[in-house]
């Protein structure tokens, strides 16, 4: 049930992303083309509708904003030229800023580990990334078999690469996360 409608969320999304969810005429192409829709609780065309309604809480706490992989299939097909993936990106960024409780916890966690790795050394090291993510998510064993396989084939470089310009990279992070 939706009781109160407010234009605030749409204005915010438009300001940040330049996209206009109000232009949507609910053709459904974004949703029928979305390969990840089976794992979403709110479908892309519904996301656009709910932004128009101002249902911020609902959207920021949805699984959809984390499941979306930005494959941009929706963006490229929208007849009203709405970059749907970008609207979802914006909602996700807002969720992180407002520290909303994510519906799918391990995805933002993964992003944090990924970005933490870059901030530390400048490049991704798969063992470092795997290690930190698995530790923090508590999901230690799901890819053991895979890890062993890769180790055996020499696909894992244990020693992480570290670049000279680490400081520059850290500066970028400091500025971005202010």
């Amino acid at each position: 049930m939706i009781h109160t409608l407010t234009p605030d969320l749409e204005r915010e999304v438009e300001r940040r992303s330049g996209q206009k969810p109000r232009n949507c005429y609910q053709c459904g192409k974004c949703s029928t083309g979305c390969l990840f829709s089976f794992a979403m609780d709110v479908l892309p065309h519904q996301v656009i509708k709910l932004v128009q309604y101002g249902q911020k809480e609902r959207l920021l706490s949805s699984a959809t904003i984390w499941i979306c992989a930005s494959c941009e299939t929706c963006t490229v097909r929208c007849p009203n030229q709405i970059e749907v993936a970008r609207v979802i990106d914006t909602l996700r960024q807002m969720a992180l800023e407002e520290k909303a409780t994510p519906a799918v916890r391990n995805i933002p966690l993964f992003h944090k580990c990924f970005l933490g790795n870059i901030a530390a050394t400048g490049r991704i090291s798969e063992p470092v990334l795997m290690g930190s993510y698995k530790t923090f998510s508590g999901d230690l064993f799901s890819d053991i078999g895979l890890a062993l396989n890769m180790l055996a084939k020499g696909k894992i470089k244990i020693i992480p690469p570290v670049i000279k310009g680490r400081r520059e990279v850290r500066r970028i992070f400091r500025e971005a996360l202010r």
Binding site: R16, L35, F36, F38, A39, I67, A69, S70, C71, E72, T73, T75, V76, E83, D89, R92, Q93, L96, V104, N106, I107, P108, L109, F110, H111, F114, L115, I118, G122, R123, I124, S125, E126, P127, Y133, S137, F141, S142, D143, I144, G145, L146, N149, M150, K153, G154, K155, I156, K157, P161, I163, K164, G165, E168, V169, R171, I172, F173, E175, A176
Partner: protein, 290 residues
Amino acid sequence: MRAYAYFPGCSQGSSAHEYGESARAAAEALGIELREIPDWSCCGASSGHMTNHLLSVALPARNLAIAAEMGLDVAVVCAACYNRLRGAQKELLEDEGLASRVEEVLGRDPRFRGEVLHLLDIIFRHVDLEELKERVSAPLKELRPVSYYGCLMARPRGLMTEDNPEYPVRMDRLLEALGAEVRPWSYKTDCCGGSLSLTRTDVVVKLVNRLFEAAEEADANCIVTACPMCLANLEMRQSEGALSFRVPHQLPVFFFTELIALALGLEEARSWFPKHLIDPQPLLRGAGLI
């Protein structure tokens, strides 16, 4: 030799090692020099793009700024890096306010006025397919690949590769020139699941199996791709599970550069195949290619 500022991308360091090696070898054989961007850093890939706008632009921008100092166009081999670098370039050239802010943070000018191209595009620019055919010493006759471009190479429309965004054909043409019997299929740009590989493996498994089923339905015996993340997902994620070694779909997955090297008779190609998680050697042996 045409020289390009080469952005390898983080996966070259480990799981996509063969890709990096084969890219270099193939490029060299085709007269393209890949000069690594010194001290390059991660482009941020999906994680940057999805969580913070400034990160998504500034991380790639650093590399573009260094490449600008080299005075060369940029070559990438990873579709995700390709998407991020081009995306950032466009935004910085169009939004002056953003460009100034990033310049301040980086201490370098992030406005890159050269071109950022995927190796596939570069090959198409510089190599005449008819001539390439002449140079092939080991035609890939018994290989029946489907070309898998992945979602990031083709989208957004207008920004990415000049090929048809829904139905690209460059890789197909290249493989045909190398003698392969390319199988047509319509899943060329369907996402493999991308960065959800670790976090929502179930989603990736579903999408990966969908791709394998379609490839088999198309009567293919291998899949060729141009993105290391796609290859990793395809090889690793047919099923979830702690100790799963065996996979239902035994289609090997190649990087297109591996096949270029193989067809051109480069010896080092042999060293890459044992590293694949789905062993391509039986297929290649059967085809008389190794």
